[in-house]
């Protein structure tokens, strides 16, 4: 009995001890798991706090002579990573570059290029007849290709390009300093005078960090004398004298100006081929046209009509300045290099590209509507511009045809003078929209207005021929 009691009393505690043991193990396990999660969270918070504290770590010393972007990339790896991503070739509906295979040659080792705009639209060949652009003109690729695409375009084989071309396609700041003995303006003038491939020897990278940033403060700065002079002349036309862009521009203005150093309309002035931005009378297309008429500049004589015509380059900066985004204080960088988050850090995205490829960061910062809606709005603007551009292009081709026929019929230079001048104007206006990268988006109403003006000039040109023909007929009858 006693034994039995003992067994019972011994059994019960054993059960509860076992049960108690399970609870202890489970609770301890949960506590361990909680501790591990807690530590994980703690580490994450610690990392984020540190990220927010130190925007960058200086591992190399940068100087005003450090040209190689890879060296800058050691201190600014996130920005450099973005910069390297500009090799991407992505189409948008009305632009972007499509990777097209190409058989490499000795003279052109590229195995990949962008789609040919001349094949897409043969009317461009008619517009540029007699000029190098009628031989090879492709969609622009990302920043990573700016230098090699310039070196290997067929245009190099058709005409002798001047060193001035290097200004916008290469990291030329160090070359200016070297050629000018420290004076970048003198260096710039010396570089412009060289033939292209002589100038090419002076440079080794496409446009890089040092072309937009001060190596000591990382502040944005203008390194291109052509822009310094151009913006000074433009400001003077607005009543602001002695404008020094690096002294007087605000930070937000600089976020457009550093891009405007390159993405502009320009011409090579005089025998020395000095790169010049034609902004003395203003930034609008008629201001620039008036400037060219005044200095009697022509890019070439049209092969079919003999008109002294102009090639608009890529007036993104000028066009953007006529648009609503510019008016609202938005800068180029706001849309093309929007801020992006890397952990707790916020940096501007150096993967420069079409905002249509990054609508959330580029547009939704200000526009609180869906990505699909924003894309629709942008493409609607582009489609309207594209339709209007086609109308203007068809009209221009007709004028060129009429002019050619009139010439063949024996019309004199005097008879054709008015029509040729209208061709010059119609062509430049149309090209101002055509060559500008955005298909009207940078300034929608302005783009369509310019195209309307172009059509007006074309029709005036055709009218002047008709009247001229009447005059000729009248003269023959007498």
């Amino acid at each position: 009995m006693e034994n039995e009691e003992n067994t019972v009393s011994k059994k019960a505690p054993a059960k509860s001890r076992l049960y108690g043991g399970k609870v202890v193990v489970s609770v301890a396990f949960l506590a361990f798991a909680a501790a591990i999660l807690g530590l994980g969270l703690l580490t994450n918070i610690l990392e984020r706090k540190n990220e927010a504290k130190n925007p960058f770590f200086r591992v190399v010393e940068l100087t005003d002579d450090t040209t190689d972007p890879e060296v800058w990339g050691k201190n600014f790896p996130l920005q450099y990573d973005g910069y390297k991503k500009t090799v991407d070739q992505v189409r948008t509906r009305f632009g972007g570059s499509e990777a097209v295979h190409k058989t490499p040659k000795d003279s052109d080792p590229r195995s990949m290029v962008a789609q040919s705009r001349l094949e897409e639209d043969p009317r461009l060949k008619t517009m540029w007849d007699g000029y190098a652009f009628a031989v090879d003109f492709r969609e622009e690729r990302g920043h990573a290709f700016m230098l090699e695409d310039q070196m290997f375009t067929e245009r190099q084989n058709v005409v002798k390009q001047p060193g001035s071309c290097i200004n916008c396609h290469a990291s030329a700041y160090a070359a200016y300093k070297k050629l000018g003995g420290g004076d970048i303006v003198a260096g710039f003038q010396a570089l412009n005078k060289l033939p292209y491939f002589e100038a090419k020897k002076e440079i080794s990278h496409p446009v890089a960090c040092i072309d937009c940033h001060d190596s000591q403060t990382m502040a944005l700065r203008i390194t291109r004398p052509a822009f310094m002079d151009g913006i000074k002349a433009y400001k003077a036309s607005q009543g602001i004298q002695n404008y020094d862009v690096n002294r007087d521009a605000t930070r937000q203005e600089m976020r457009s100006y550093v891009c405007g150093q390159f993405h502009v309309e320009y011409y090579f002035k005089g025998a020395d081929k000095q790169l010049t931005y034609p902004w003395e009378k203003g930034l609008k297309v008629e201001n620039i046209m008036a400037y060219y008429d005044e200095v009697k500049h022509k890019d070439w004589s049209h092969k079919q009509t003999g008109a002294e015509v102009l090639k608009a380059q890529h007036p993104e900066f000028e066009m953007f300045n006529q648009g609503i985004h510019s008016r609202a204080g938005v800068s180029c960088a706001d849309c093309h290099m929007p801020y992006k988050r890397e952990g707790a850090m916020k940096i501007s995205d150096h993967h420069v590209r079409s905002p249509l490829l990054n609508i959330s960061q580029s547009c939704q910062t200000c526009h609180s509507t869906s990505e699909a809606e924003l894309k629709f709005r942008a493409e609607a603007i582009q489609e309207r511009t594209f339709n209007m551009r086609n109308i203007a292009m068809d009209a221009l081709v007709q004028l060129i045809d009429d002019l050619r026929k009139a010439k063949e019929r024996g019309a004199t230079d005097e008879d054709l003078a008015a029509a040729r001048d209208f061709q010059r104007k119609a062509q430049f206006y149309l090209d101002f929209v055509e060559a500008e990268n955005s298909m009207g988006f940078h300034a929608p109403a302005e783009a369509v207005r310019i195209l309307g003006e172009s059509v007006k000039f074309t029709r005036q040109g055709q009218l002047s021929l008709k009247n001229g023909k009447t005059l000729l007929a009248t003269a023959a009858a007498h």
């Binding site: 609770v27 506590a31 501790a35 910062t365």
Partner: protein, 152 residues
């Protein structure tokens, strides 16, 4: 007896350790500060820096803090919202899975809309047809006055 003691010791260390790490993390991350009304605390996790900067320069700075617009005006609702927002904000920031730029959820939009009406009641009573949701959505304060608190 010895085994029992060992088990209890392990349990004690585990629970104590987890608690210690939990409390330390909470203090280190300034978790307690989120119970207050100070807008500076809302920028603790760095995501709200721009909103905070914008608010400091905005017209509402002298009359309203983050909580005045982004939490309901009753105590229970306020702390329920703070707890829910706090949890989801930390979750998304830790796992790095959130839409950039940050966007208002529908619930937050409604709370904010109600907050406008709470303070500006005298004004909006003359404008709104009724408090029916259908009508308040038709005339939304935020649609036109989106940037009064802070830009974006």
């Amino acid at each position: 007896m010895n085994l029992q003691f060992l088990k209890l010791a392990v349990l004690g260390i585990a629970v104590g350790g987890a608690l210690a790490i939990g409390v330390y993390t909470f203090v280190y991350a300034k978790g307690y500060s989120y119970l207050s009304n100070d807008p500076g605390n809302c920028a603790n996790c760095h995501i709200m820096n721009e909103q905070f900067d914008g608010w400091q320069k905005g017209s509402h700075k002298n009359v309203a803090t983050c909580n005045d617009c982004h939490t309901p005006h009753d105590t229970v609702g306020k702390y329920m919202t703070k707890a829910s927002n706090g949890f989801w904000h930390s979750y998304y920031f830790t796992t790095n899975t959130f839409h950039e730029p940050i966007q208002l959820t529908e619930r937050s939009r409604q709370i904010t809309e109600e907050s406008c009406r709470h303070c500006h009641q005298n004004m909006v009573d003359a404008i709104t047809v009724s408090l029916d949701k259908k009508h308040t959505d038709e005339v939304s304060c935020l649609r036109c006055h989106r940037s009064v608190g802070h830009l974006h």
